[in-house]
């Protein structure tokens, strides 16, 4: 009987050696360790053996069972690791196939740029002030020190709205966000007319000029203006604030240049150039080899404008500046056609 057990063990272990997959392994388990396997038959027949024979055969059968089980476990590990090795090799991906896309929503580049500007200004204590796009001549021009028929009006070709009986105060599409300066000053001043509070606001929004639509000129564009009014505001503050802004906007090394200029609603007025951020001032196509990029117009708020806003110019002073997010984008991204912005071609928008 013990010989038979040895025989069972030997043949089982032999047949196990050639097994290489998990299905054959399971079949081996059923035939060698299953209910009707020769080994189990030995266990089942133990009761029929004599008392003398029973312990030896019983322990022999147990030994064989343990041996077969551990051999199975061993073999199973080998088979599994072989299978894993095979699958790691066979399931290789072509990693150069393109990734799967998802629908992505982006902000329009103008919104992105407006936000960039506004977030810097917010850090500097400027709050957002928005106002209407269709305006009166009074707010867009007269209160900003552009009297009727002033030659400065030639600098801002205007779309007028059909309306009757308006006399010297026609309705028009705002040519700049500056009417908001008057709206804001009047709102602030109304809160305390004898002692108006100081102001630090940013005015973003769409503006309109009577132009032909070409690669270089558009009928609508965004503008952001900053306005500061207070009792101790100087031209030196204007320089400091705008330089702070320019360094945040264009990098800490940004150099600026203030050129005298003219705007009816500021005096003294200036235009600010920043050293070309494309070439670092060495000269390139973007700065037309000049090394400078014109980025904003600014100046001390004109006394007439302060007065019209409800602020006494002998006590208050202020400064204001305006800039164009689309122009900034065009310079930064070397966009040579302004019509891309309102063309809304997805192939353009998806690049931002």
């Amino acid at each position: 009987m013990l010989d038979k057990l040895n025989e069972i063990e030997k043949s089982a272990l032999e047949s196990l050696q050639s097994i290489t997959d998990s299905a054959a392994l399971e079949a081996w388990r059923v035939s060698h360790l299953g209910r009707s396997s020769p080994l189990m038959t030995v266990f089942a027949g133990l009761g029929k053996l004599s008392k003398e024979e029973r312990p030896a055969v019983g322990s022999g059968a147990n030994r064989v069972k343990v041996a077969l089980e551990s051999a199975l476990e061993e073999r199973s590990k080998i088979v599994k690791s072989a299978a894993l090795a095979k699958s790691l090799e066979e399931d290789a991906l072509d990693v150069t196939l393109p990734g799967r896309g998802i629908h992505v929503g982006r902000l329009h580049p103008s919104t992105q740029q407006l936000r960039k500007v506004m977030s810097i200004l917010a850090d500097m204590g400027f709050q957002v002030y928005t106002s209407r796009e269709v305006e009166t001549d009074e707010y867009n021009f007269q209160l900003l020190n552009f009297p009727p028929n002033h030659p400065a009006r030639d600098m801002q070709d205007t779309f007028f709205v059909e309306a009757e009986g308006r006399g010297d105060n026609p309705i028009l599409l705002r040519t700049h966000t500056s009417p908001g300066q008057i709206h804001a000053m009047r709102e602030y001043a109304a809160t305390n007319p004898d002692n108006p509070p100081s102001i630090r606001i940013a005015l973003p929004g769409m503006c309109f000029r009577y132009e032909q639509i070409t690669a270089r000129s558009e009928i609508q564009f965004n503008q952001v203006e900053g306005l500061v009014v207070g009792e101790n505001i100087t031209f030196a503050d204007l320089k400091g604030t705008l330089n702070d802004f320019a360094r945040r906007m264009f990098g800490q090394d940004a150099r600026t240049r203030f050129r005298a200029s003219y705007f009816p609603f500021t005096e003294p007025s200036a235009e600010v150039d920043v050293e070309c951020f494309v070439c670092g001032g060495k000269g390139c196509g973007v700065c037309k080899n000049s090394g400078w990029l014109e980025i904003l117009g600014c100046g001390m708020v004109h006394p007439v404008v302060l007065q019209n806003g409800g602020y006494d110019p002998s006590r208050y002073s202020g400064f204001a500046w305006g800039m164009g997010p689309e122009r900034q984008l065009m310079l930064r991204y070397k966009i040579d056609d302004i019509r891309y912005f309102w063309g809304n071609d997805l192939r353009f928008l998806e690049q931002f």
């Binding site: 269709v134 100081s198 207070g230 090394g291 001390m300």
Partner: protein, 852 residues
């Protein structure tokens, strides 16, 4: 304004300053130099990709190769009728030069010239512009043979030297040109093209720019009278009879015409101006006409006063025509035109006038449109012998309106509409007469007729050191302030810490009071130098923090929408009723009085219409999801329109992006839009939202459209675009799903900020499927489940809608996945009890049957 450097040198010593230095100083001081055009002076050498400070064009003249020469004889060419051979002396030796120049052709074969002709001579190897080429092409003179005669050099035209476009003949230099001198030394030049902003109008002339340069460099202006002509003209012969005896002036409205000055010159000979004058005029962008017209233009460019020359004899003749011979005086009257009055201007056009226009008249009728253009009848002709020269001051607004109304922008109207100081009228007439005397040989009549009823104020402004500190942020002494202003010819008096500065009598841009102070402070800052003003941080306290909740809310909505995969666009505000009419028709619009094109003649009323145009433009994209947030414009009779804010969304195309293993995705439909709207509204913290079917939106599919309500108030609509509307656009096949919200309504809905607590106990999940009539809305079923389940049912998700024959016609199966959750571990029995309640409720309320 084009300013030749040589002309500036009449008034200021520029030694030691390069052309770029001059341009830089002017640019930083607010006289922006747009371009420098070289015509002879040495140019800075730029290599490619190197920083150019200014846009630069033109050529420099080689001092060795380009010289003043004299033509001694014009001989025939042996083999060509149209060509001549010049016997020319270049200062060192004689040369034979071949030319076809028509303006010396008539001298061919006349032998040795009595008076040699001075010319610009270019030797072999000179680089200049090709006179025969289109545009400006550089070429280098090479030795060649033309019709058998050797040619190695040439006499030049203005085009060849880069002075002007002129190539009709060679330059005939003035007789006193020094033979052998390098041409660059004799008349080498560079022209600054300067933008003149409105408050710099006083500088739209050479003396103005020179004055600025003097202030900016601290140099002295040269004494007056040291003019281009090189000599004082005071000694010109004077005729005996004073102009005062011959002419009188009547100004009917001093507001329109503050000053009118007239002078006279007799016995003139109309002929071309000296070449050096013609060259300067051309460099400054004006065409030389004859010595008299040139003198008026030259004076205007020189000192800024436009002049007008009348033929005096024509005026006398006109007096004769009206039978007023007894009165020997010519009477000049200035007045507003009558509506409908006509004048024939010297461009030959008959113009109908209005009362805005101002006229210069005699007793017979009008002579000229004041400050804008002269009349044809009294203009200077080749026969003119006596000139009555007008220098006047005209109202800027009237001039501007007239120039605009008649579309007559001119150098004169440019200046008058920006303001010319009346003091210049007298200076202008005197200067003009001197130049005419010198260039025409005429005799200046004694005196001027001068009527000056309205003198400008030339305000005196008091500036204190405190003002300078308060507004500019710099510490200057009163003396320093006075020094800066004196450089600009303000008359300054220093008293302790203040300066009384009187405006010089050539500028009208200095106001009074606080305005005048700002005007003068700008001058202080400009001359001091903006670059020298320090940078400081505001010391003012931070203003009240008001914020802009409306703007912040819109920005938040934008963020939610982009996070949902919807692309933002920004469209034109301007459209046409026809374009919008494809979607929705409106009768009234905010219409533009001056649209750039018919298709952009009104302000949009529908944001969705704008958005759909963008979808249309991108229709070939496989998948589109876009939104725009912006204003529409609702007309309000003759008042400002309302500008309500709107949100529009449009989706069409594939729901899933195609990829190499993803093909044939389904198209976006109603529920893709609805899913995004649900997330948008929950992101905006809105609750109490309901969706009700609507067939009342004309552009939406009547049975695939819904109204969105927040707490019962409609805030927007969405659905599939009506097939008949969709047809009007160039869209692809897949349905176009759109939504439109009124942001003001949406924003006014109160947000709710509560959250549902997250339980740590395990939930029980269970599915139930019920069969109901088709007419029962899913929303009602879900509402009943939630209501019955109460707090315990924390999630109700419809996961299947199913119809088939077994269920029966007119019926549908709705399968829900329910999540039961309570504040303790829930048992199956507890869940079953709630479920039974729910099923009973559904049976009772909507006749639902549980599907087994």
């Amino acid at each position: 304004m084009k300013i030749p450097i040589s002309w500036l040198r009449d008034y200021i010593d520029l030694d030691g300053l390069s052309v770029e230095d001059i341009a830089r100083k002017l640019t930083l001081a607010g006289l922006e130099v747009d371009e420098i055009k070289y015509a002879g002076l040495p140019m800075p050498e730029y290599k490619d990709g190197e920083k150019h400070e200014f846009k630069t064009s033109g050529i420099a003249w080689d001092k060795e190769k380009l010289v003043v020469a004299e033509i001694r004889e014009v001989k025939a060419h042996p083999n060509a009728d149209r060509l001549t051979l010049l016997d020319l002396f270049d200062g060192k030796e004689s040369q034979t030069v071949l030319t076809g120049a028509p303006n010396i052709f008539h001298l061919k074969g006349t032998g040795k010239l009595d008076k040699p002709i001075k010319a610009a001579y270019a030797k072999e190897g000179t680089t200049l512009y090709d006179g025969h080429a289109e545009g400006l092409q550089l070429m280098t003179l090479k030795r060649t043979k033309i019709r058998g005669v050797e040619s190695y050099s040439m006499v030049c035209s203005e085009k060849e030297l880069g002075i002007s476009e002129e190539h009709d003949g060679i330059i005939l230099l003035d007789d006193d040109a020094p033979v052998g001198t390098p041409l660059a030394d004799y008349m080498g030049d560079a022209v600054l093209d300067i933008s003149i902003v409105p408050n710099m109008a006083r500088n739209a002339n050479v003396i103005g720019i020179a004055r600025e340069l003097a202030a900016l460099t601290g140099r002295e202006m040269r004494k007056h009278g040291n003019t281009e002509t090189g000599k004082q003209v005071k000694n010109a012969v004077r005729s005996p009879q004073s102009v005062v005896d011959l002419v009188e002036i009547e100004i009917t409205n001093p507001e329109l015409n503050p000053r009118f000055v007239m002078g006279m010159i007799r016995d003139i000979e109309i002929k071309p101006s000296p070449y050096r004058i013609q060259r300067r005029l051309r460099l400054a962008g004006m065409r030389p006409i004859n010595n008299i017209v040139d003198a008026t233009n030259y004076t205007m460019l020189d000192i800024g006063q436009p002049l007008h020359a009348f033929d005096y004899d024509v005026l006398v003749g006109r007096v004769g025509q009206i039978g007023n011979l007894s009165n020997r005086k010519i009477k000049i009257i200035t007045r507003a035109a009558k509506d409908g009055e006509k004048i024939k201007t010297l461009d030959g056009t008959e113009r109908e006038l209005t009362s805005t226009n101002v006229l210069v008249c005699d007793e017979k009728s009008s002579l000229a449109m004041a400050g804008v253009m002269g009349g044809e009848e009294s203009e200077v002709t080749a026969k003119t012998r006596t000139i009555l020269l007008e220098g006047a001051s005209w109202n800027p607004i009237a001039t501007r309106k007239t120039a605009q109304q008649h579309n007559l922008p001119s150098e004169a109207s440019f200046r008058f509409s920006r303001g010319v100081h009346p003091a210049m009228a007298e200076q202008g007439v005197k200067r003009g007469l001197e130049l005419m005397a010198e260039w025409s040989g005429g005799q200046i009549a004694p005196d001027l007729v001068d009527v000056y009823p309205l003198k400008p104020k030339d305000p005196t402004i008091t500036v204190t050191t405190k003002d300078v500190k308060r507004l500019l942020g710099i510490d200057l002494t009163a003396k320093q302030i006075a020094d800066l202003l004196t450089r600009l010819e303000f008359e300054c008096k220093v008293e302790k810490d203040s300066v009384k500065a009187k405006t010089p009598p050539h500028r009208l841009d200095i106001g009074e009071g606080v305005v005048g102070l700002a005007d003068v402070l700008e001058e202080v800052a400009r001359v001091y130098g903006y670059d020298r003003i320090p940078e400081t941080r505001m010391s003012d306290s931070l203003p009240p923090q008001i914020g802009n909740p409306k703007h912040e809310w819109e920005e938040h909505a934008r963020d939610i929408l982009t996070s949902l995969g919807v692309q933002e666009v920004v469209s034109y505000r301007m459209t046409s009723p026809e374009r919008e009419g494809r979607l929705v028709a409106h009768d009234e619009y905010v219409a533009l009085a001056n649209p750039i094109a018919p298709e952009r003649r009104v302000m949009r009323r529908s944001l969705l219409a704008s958005l759909l145009e963008n979808v249309e433009k991108n229709a070939r994209a496989e998948s589109i999801a876009m939104f725009e947030i912006g204003s529409v414009f609702e007309p309000n009779k003759n008042n400002l329109p309302n500008e309500p804010r709107k949100l529009a969304i449009a989706m069409t195309g594939l729901r899933t992006q195609s990829a190499w293993d993803v093909k044939d995705s389904a198209s976006f439909d109603f529920f893709d839009m609805k899913g995004r709207l649900e997330l948008l509204l929950s992101g905006l913290r809105l609750s109490g939202i309901s969706y009700t079917p609507t067939d009342g939106v004309t552009y939406l599919h009547p049975s695939k459209a819904a109204e969105v309500k927040v707490n019962g108030q409609t805030v927007g609509v969405f659905g599939e675009l009506h097939p008949l509307v969709k047809e009007k656009y160039d869209f692809e096949d897949s349905p176009v799903i759109v939504a439109e919200f009124d942001l003001d309504a949406l924003q006014s809905a109160a947000p709710s900020y509560g959250i549902t607590p997250v339980s740590e106990f395990p939930p029980v999940l269970e599915d139930i499927a019920i069969i109901v009539d088709e007419s029962v809305a899913a929303e009602r079923v879900e509402g009943l489940i939630r209501q019955t389940g109460g707090k315990t049912v924390t999630r109700v998700r419809l996961f299947d809608v199913y119809r088939d024959e077994k269920i029966g016609a007119g019926k549908k199966s709705l399968a829900y996945s329910l999540t039961y959750q309570s504040e303790k571990t829930m048992t199956d029995a507890e869940a079953a009890a709630i479920r039974t309640k729910i099923v009973k409720r559904l049976e009772f309320e909507v006749g639902a049957k549980l599907r087994s």
